[in-house]
Amino acid sequence: MANPCAIVGIGQTQYRTKRLDVSMAGLVREAARRALDDAGLTWKDIDAVVVGKAPDLFEGVVMPEVFLADALGATGKPLMRVHTAGSVGGSTAIVAANLIQSGVHERVLTLAWEKQSESNATWALTVNGPFTTSLVVGAGGYFAPHIRAYMARAGAPDHIGTLVAVKDRQNALRNQYAHLKIPGISREMVESTPMLWEPIRYLETCPSSDGACAMVLASEKAARQSPNPPAWVHGTSMRSEPMQFAGRDSVSPQGGKDAAADVYRQAGITDPRSELDCAEVYVPFSWYEPMWLENLGFCGENEGWKLTEAGATAFDGDIPWNPSGGVLSSNPIGASGMIRFAEAALQVRGMAGEHQVDGARRALGHAYGGGAQFFAMWIVGSDKP
């Protein structure tokens, strides 16, 4: 059976549209250094490094962890690079956790990053080959039809997406690292912004950010020496399914449901809404909150929008979603999933600062990617399982 795995260090960079003040090495070190400081460790204490990021076309460097090996303190150590599209930040954390759970290593540094300003997200995500014509411009172009399908299927009123856009940006005001901070954010403000990919409005989309997030994971023995309280991994899960096939439900993919069922089983959770204290869920377009509420079993089918509307997912609701401000407020793509995982851990460590959910003891971190076909999740808790 799996050995216990603790999260003993977490570090994030300031998220910004362009981090022109740092190189790629500087960016990853900013996060890694903070994670090491939190863990009370130095580079030499680390046994292995696991790096994740989304497509290399963002920075135009093939497998950039190879040139960043020194900057990551990986000399003489194992160094791995994970890439599972948008879910990669979560998958990377799981690969790192597996290294502890299997007993292979004692202390692993895991880090996910993206420096999107080195090119352009729309370009890097939609490089067209000679056999395709571009009908999808950026991720929003891909997800908009599925959001429309959700709205029709669930009978959700138009303003639900707006509510999420406002709520997550209000949360971001409490997060020192968040990229988008919009004081006075309101429904009127969101509704006055243009439809980019109808039904998605400008302020219902995530920003494009530069940033990195790092964690130090440790065995039970190594965790005893940590200066700050650890978070413990209660379950991890990954699922993948093809992007398109006859009978696929693109609105509420089976992969998400299966991954959630698996991670709840490991953590002994039967009713996520009441047994979890908060969740950091990958919501890059506001409508994905009600969609994932259903997919993750926080409510029944077609009921997700009602939870959002009732304020259940607000900072003071019964199940706060994305108290950090979420992907809607900071989105260095390759890192976004790890930020979810790390923010969940910060909550159960009681170290989330101004966006700390009172008394949070169990939290979900979630990431998805590709055509909503790759899922990575973990549940972390204050208590050792």
């Binding site: 009908l135 950026g138 429309r148 009978g247």
Partner: protein, 312 residues
Amino acid sequence: MPSEAAEPNHLVAFPGGYTRSVGPVTGRFLSELRDGRMVGVRTAGGRVLVPPAECDPETGEDVTGEFVEVGPAGTVTTWSWVPRPAKEHPFDRPFAWALIRPDGADTALLHALDLGVFEPGAKPPKVLKTGMRVRPKYRAERTGTIGDIECFLPEVTMINPQAALEYRLKGGRALGRFLEGISEGRILGHRCPVCEKVIVPMKGFCTRDGVPTTEEVELPDTGTVTTFAVNNIPDPRAPEVPFVSGYVLLDGAGLTMLTLVAGIPADQVRMGMRVRAAWRPREEWDRSMANIKWFEPIDEPDVPFEEIKDYM
């Protein structure tokens, strides 16, 4: 501004140039400059003056004899922008003058600051600001004058490498066969031997069942829009906005196909709308999906949501 007057008719210039002795302090500065270094001189109060002067400008006392290397990087303490340079200026295109305090110095040096190529009359660029970090650009051939520094340049904050990788892609056998059909005005799919659904365009296998597929099925060019997006973001690679990208379930197909939906104002496209492929004129056909311009509405009643909801 240069005057519009007639050609000059009087020139004052000492033949051969003045012969100026520089003394030990300025001499040291210019000698070091010729070597490619900047030095300042320390005052009795401990300040470092650049360029070095014989005395402390605050107290009037002699400076110490201690020269210290400063820079090469420095900080702009103030600046001006010359949108239309005069002929005496070091550049014939817009540039800045700046007071630059080299690292390790307590005073600033005046010099030109080159920020790149601008059209005459250009406004100051945004990067030009007090506090910006700059470095000297030395001339290859130096003679011991302040002009040994050709100008200052901003510190390097970004590089802009141009990498272009060339590929020779082939689409693969299944796509090749599909496009062959399209070149003949036919839409081809494969029937999966396991789930028995028709996959269009075919890939040569079923993504659900992971088995090879070979049974070809020709589908009609009519179908139903299941869901769609109205795209308002212009992109050079995409159609003019607003354009509608929609999933069309061809009649007889097991899954939808992403296409352009047009021939109707964007705000009138509906889920369940019946559509047909709009083919380009036959003489323009080649092995490309571009043979179908888009799918456009046909005069049939919309398909009820219940019948298409499982294809989303």
